[in-house]
């Protein structure tokens, strides 16, 4: 397709542009990550050398094992998984029926409710920090992942994406099922959900990634070190952990998300453009 620069005008020019872009993009986005992965295997003494060694003089891959053990990363992984999976499950369980009701059952005041929900998108998250924190405290949900699950369920963007998708489902299919005597719950479970796989995938990825990346809410909710998520624990460890162990810990914390991304990249990137501009 025709773009800004006429194609095929100058082969050398294109080759130069391609080479420069590849080098710059790789240097900026890949090099730092590779640098951390390799540097974590240098002894702490070697990491203090100026200029730094390119490859470790002494290879210590066991640093990764030691970091995992010393920082008890397994526990924080588990805590983070509990938060992320719980947020995802509760968000779907709460928001799918709500979006379905708003889209298909059109109850009295439905439009007003949707408007009230979308209104919360206008609220900058930072502004609600203190009152929401105090509300969580009042409910006795501090140090409890349930606080983050419920907080995640009040997600107007998810409701909006789901409702917009349900709006476009063919009426005939639903009517036919209704004539067969199916109740609304059966309809939702048997007919609507199987048809909604694409949007459920998008919403699920958004939910899990957002929960995994979140820092400020887990920081506020979990003051008990044993319940903290990876992000909160790592920044707590950072000041007094030897550099090589810290770097190994960071790599271990980042690896699963990067790995999942590499596996599911098509879905992630498709979801980005589907709901992208508004997300």
């Amino acid at each position: 397709m025709r773009t800004l620069v006429a194609p095929g005008r100058s082969r050398t020019g294109y080759a130069i542009a391609l080479t420069i872009t590849t080098i710059v993009v790789t240097a900026v986005f890949v090099l730092p990550l590779v640098w951390v992965v390799v540097s974590a295997m240098k002894p702490a003494v070697e990491l203090a050398r100026v200029p730094p060694t390119v490859l470790p003089l002494t290879w210590q891959p066991e640093t990764y094992v030691e970091a995992w053990r010393l920082m008890d990363l397994g526990r924080y992984f588990l805590n983070t998984i509990v938060v992320a999976v719980g947020t995802w499950a509760v968000q779907l369980a709460v928001d799918v029926p709500a979006a379905y009701a708003l889209s298909r059952l059109k109850p009295v005041l439905g439009k007003g409710i949707l408007g009230m929900m979308l209104l919360t998108l206008m609220m900058p998250a930072a502004v609600l920090l203190v009152p929401t924190y105090l509300t969580i405290a009042d409910l006795g949900l501090l140090d409890n992942p349930v606080a983050l699950w419920l907080l995640g369920a009040a997600n107007a963007f998810t409701v909006f994406l789901l409702k917009r998708f349900f709006d476009q489902l063919p009426v005939e299919v639903l009517e036919a099922a209704k004539i067969d005597g199916a109740g609304q719950l059966t309809l939702l479970w048997r007919i609507v959900l199987p048809l909604s796989r694409p949007i459920l995938a998008v919403v699920s990825i958004f939910a899990v990634v957002a929960a995994w990346k979140d820092f400020i809410w887990p920081l506020l909710v979990f003051s008990d070190p044993a319940r903290q998520t990876l992000s909160v624990a790592l920044q707590r460890f950072a000041p007094d952990t030897p550099v090589n162990l810290m770097l190994a810990g960071l790599v271990l914390a980042g690896a699963p998300v990067v790995g999942l991304f590499l596996v599911f990249q098509r879905h992630v990137l498709a979801g980005l453009t589907a709901g992208g501009v508004k997300g």
């Binding site: 009701a101 708003l102 009295v108 419920l150 939702l188 820092f215």
Partner: protein
């Protein structure tokens, strides 16, 4: 009639859990936030009405002006980098016919990393001694910088991290927008004798104007709430050069347990961000309708 009632009952049954979650974790906190701004609240005594006292305390705090100035600096710098760079990157990537999948993947990779991980990795890359950045600068024959340790570069350093970590989203959204520009427009402009830069300015920019505007507004709202990078990387230092509004709010609430003053600051932030959010809604509604 009876069927209509039954349908409504079912609908509200489906809605009940969501209504409860929104009520407790969104609607009620919004209202409560406004009230809190005018109260004295700590975990010791019962909340007491104090009028404008919280706001007066804020205005008397020398850090208040510093925090707003820093936040503004962060927002402006983040616009210069975070707005221009992804757009130009998308324009360049859109011209390239090779390694398309690789570029997309790599540019978006940092977006997947938890911000704390990115911040801690960069804190190490910024190390003035053995850090990768100063090593690269020295390799080019340039003097190293103080990065996070120097008041003149500390905020810039935070902006660079935030940009690195988030630019993938904007780049891919721009790429999608660029691909929907009809090729004939470029051909016509070329026939009229417009060079590459004029085509960029008179075809590419107007054709993606809507997406550019939406992301601009979203970015302003997001960057003015910056917290993780200063909290993790500098703690507000050196010499308060990276104390942002949100960091100050966090200190009031969770260091001093002064939730009233923190809420007053929230309300001021809401006032500023509300203007941008309203603008964003106007822009998007006009296109949706």
């Amino acid at each position: 009639m009876r069927r209509r009632v039954a349908e409504n009952l079912t609908a509200y049954g489906f809605l009940s859990a969501a209504l409860l979650c929104f009520a407790v974790f969104s609607w009620y906190p919004i209202a409560r936030g406004v009230v809190l701004g005018f109260q004295q609240v700590d975990f010791v005594a019962a909340p007491a009405w104090v009028g404008w006292e919280n706001f007066e305390r804020l205005f008397a705090d020398p850090l208040f002006a510093v925090a707003w100035r820093n936040t503004l600096l962060f927002t402006v710098l983040a616009l210069v980098f975070g707005f221009a760079v992804p757009f130009l990157l998308a324009v360049v990537l859109n011209e390239l016919r090779h390694f398309k999948a690789y570029f997309r993947l790599v540019v978006y990779l940092p977006v997947m990393l938890p911000p704390v991980v990115a911040a801690l990795v960069w804190k190490w890359l910024y190390d003035p001694g053995p850090g990768l950045l100063n090593t690269a600068l020295r390799g080019l024959g340039l003097p190293g910088l103080g990065w996070l340790d120097d008041t003149s570069t500390s905020m810039l350093s935070l902006v660079l991290v935030a940009t690195w970590a988030n630019l993938g989203t904007a780049t891919l959204v721009y790429l999608a927008a660029l691909q929907s520009i009809p090729g004939e427009l470029y051909e016509a402009a070329e026939l009229d004798g417009a060079g590459v830069l004029r085509r960029l300015w008179h075809v590419t920019v107007p054709q993606t104007r809507f997406v550019l505007l939406v992301l601009l507004l979203l970015q302003i709202v997001a960057t003015m709430q910056v917290f993780t990078e200063p909290y993790v990387m500098t703690g507000g230092g050196p010499q308060d050069s990276t104390v942002t509004v949100l960091l100050l709010l966090y200190r009031y609430a969770f260091y001093y347990n002064d939730f009233g003053t923190a809420s007053a600051l929230s309300l001021l932030l809401l006032l500023v961000l509300g203007a941008f959010t309203a603008l964003y809604l106007r822009v998007t509604r006009r296109v949706d309708a």
